[in-house]
């Protein structure tokens, strides 16, 4: 398998990458979504701009309230990061479940987000985490909530010429618990349904809930129906069971030879329940 011919350019900075991102050019970070597609010649860019060596994009740092994960940080780097483990343990654990060792060694969070595979893990995880995605373009930088970033089947809010630079994740607090459960497609091991949950507790009740879902529909989303059934309810298994029944409500489940719409909808309920129970 050999990709079609293309030009390769390596950017030393985000500014240089922006200047190189002309028509028919695409960004290359870990390349673990892009290069497989190019080998199958499903994607034939004229130029690849390699941003994987821009140091600034590879850092994982913290501010008082947030973790800042550079877009070119690899899944493996995030899984192993002491900062992420300390402040958002479920993201580190979730990163450790992406693909295999080799995918985690090369694949990046920014690449996964830009690719926006509806079955990828990061979208649901970051939606639940309340993360914001930072992008830079010729007009400057902007941030979008993760749930607003994913707009459709392999479609995002990223504009032509924009580069994802970082993900800003609120640090978790002592009154919060989180989990990620996925039911994997047996061949690809991508999620048929993946559900990430962050619950904030107050006095035995759920004060706030965030539930991110991937795999079920054409893009990852914040499950507001489940959230509504959780907030201000007692934090117990009955609440989880009842709320999980709302999973996938109003969504059109995808269908393939591993999971019909009906079965996917069932999985959404089961996986949501399990993710919720893991937080209780």
């Amino acid at each position: 398998m050999i990709p079609s011919s293309f030009e390769y350019q390596r950017a030393a900075s985000v500014q240089e990458a922006l200047s190189l991102l002309g028509e028919d050019a695409q960004l290359l970070a870990g390349g673990h979504s892009l290069i497989p597609a190019m080998k199958l010649r499903l994607n034939q860019p004229g130029t690849l701009v390699d941003i994987s060596r821009i140091e600034a994009l590879k850092q994982i740092s913290e501010s008082e309230q947030h973790l800042v994960i550079g877009a070119a940080a690899t899944h493996g780097q995030i899984a192993a990061s002491a900062l992420v483990q300390q402040h958002c343990g479920f993201l580190a654990a979730g990163a450790g479940e992406i693909g295999d060792i080799q995918v985690r060694n090369k694949g990046t969070i920014g690449g996964s987000l830009a690719h926006a595979d509806p079955a990828a893990d990061w979208p649901g995880l970051l939606i639940a985490a309340g993360a914001e995605i930072e992008m830079v373009g010729s007009g400057g930088s902007r941030k979008l909530k993760a749930e607003d970033f994913f707009q459709g089947f392999f479609e995002t809010a990223l504009a032509e010429g924009e580069i994802i630079t970082a993900v800003h994740v609120p640090k978790m607090h002592a009154d919060q618990r989180a989990s990620y459960e996925k039911f994997a497609q047996p061949a690809s091991r991508y999620a048929i349904v993946g559900v990430a949950v962050v619950l904030t507790f107050y006095d035995g009740s759920i004060r706030e809930a965030r539930v991110g879902v991937n795999g079920l529909a054409d893009c990852a989303y914040l499950d507001t129906a489940v959230i509504a059934a959780l907030e201000n309810q007692k934090a117990n298994a009955d609440t989880a069971t009842a709320a999980a029944q709302k999973a996938g409500e109003g969504k059109n489940p995808m269908s393939d030879h591993y999971a019909s719409e009906k079965y996917r909808a069932n999985l959404a309920r089961v996986v949501t329940k399990r993710a919720l129970n893991a937080c209780l």
Binding site: S4, G31, P36, I101, R189
Partner: protein, 163 residues
């Protein structure tokens, strides 16, 4: 457009002329004539092509050579010193962890990455670590034993062979 790249392959620095689209696996096999690294699939799934780049295992079919420019590549050919087999290779031999041998180099390189992170993995951890490596011959049973053997040896213990 041709690119001049510099790669340290199994400890030897090499200057290579590659096209942007040349995958690392093809450069290793065709330009460096290191054919121990294999191509088993089109979808980054099977792991027959796993090599180490800058200390981490990667699927060399999913990386262009130019991406690895300046890096250090270790293939199965470079694993053993002059004194015979690396403990992982020895484990595969002692525990019959290979049959046709095609997946073996990739298995070994993944095992190396695993054992670098986790010198004493459980059977479950070994099986999970092999998620990206397919073997059609062994049913994985003896591959697991092979890695357990290697792990013990690399920890300085005397491996207990199952066979």
């Amino acid at each position: 457009m041709a690119h001049q790249i510099s790669l340290t392959v199994n400890g030897k620095q090499q200057q290579l002329e590659v096209e942007a689209r040349d995958l690392l696996v093809d450069v290793l096999r065709e330009k460096c004539r290191l054919t121990g690294t294999h191509v088993g699939c089109d979808t980054s799934s099977c792991g027959a092509c796993v090599v180490e780049v800058d200390g981490l295992s990667v699927k060399s079919c999913t990386l262009t050579a130019v991406q690895a420019d300046g890096g250090s590549v270790l293939t199965v050919e470079g694993l053993a010193g002059s004194d015979g087999l690396h403990p992982i290779q020895e484990g595969f031999k002692e525990e019959h962890g290979l049959q046709c041998g095609f997946c073996t180099p990739g298995m070994i390189m993944t095992a190396k990455d695993l054992l670098a992170r986790n010198p004493n993995p459980t059977e479950h951890e070994i099986r999970e670590a092999l998620e990206g490596n397919f073997c059609r011959c062994t049913g994985y049973h003896n591959i697991v034993r092979s890695i357990q053997y290697a792990a013990a040896k690399m920890r300085g213990e005397t491996p207990v062979s199952a066979s």
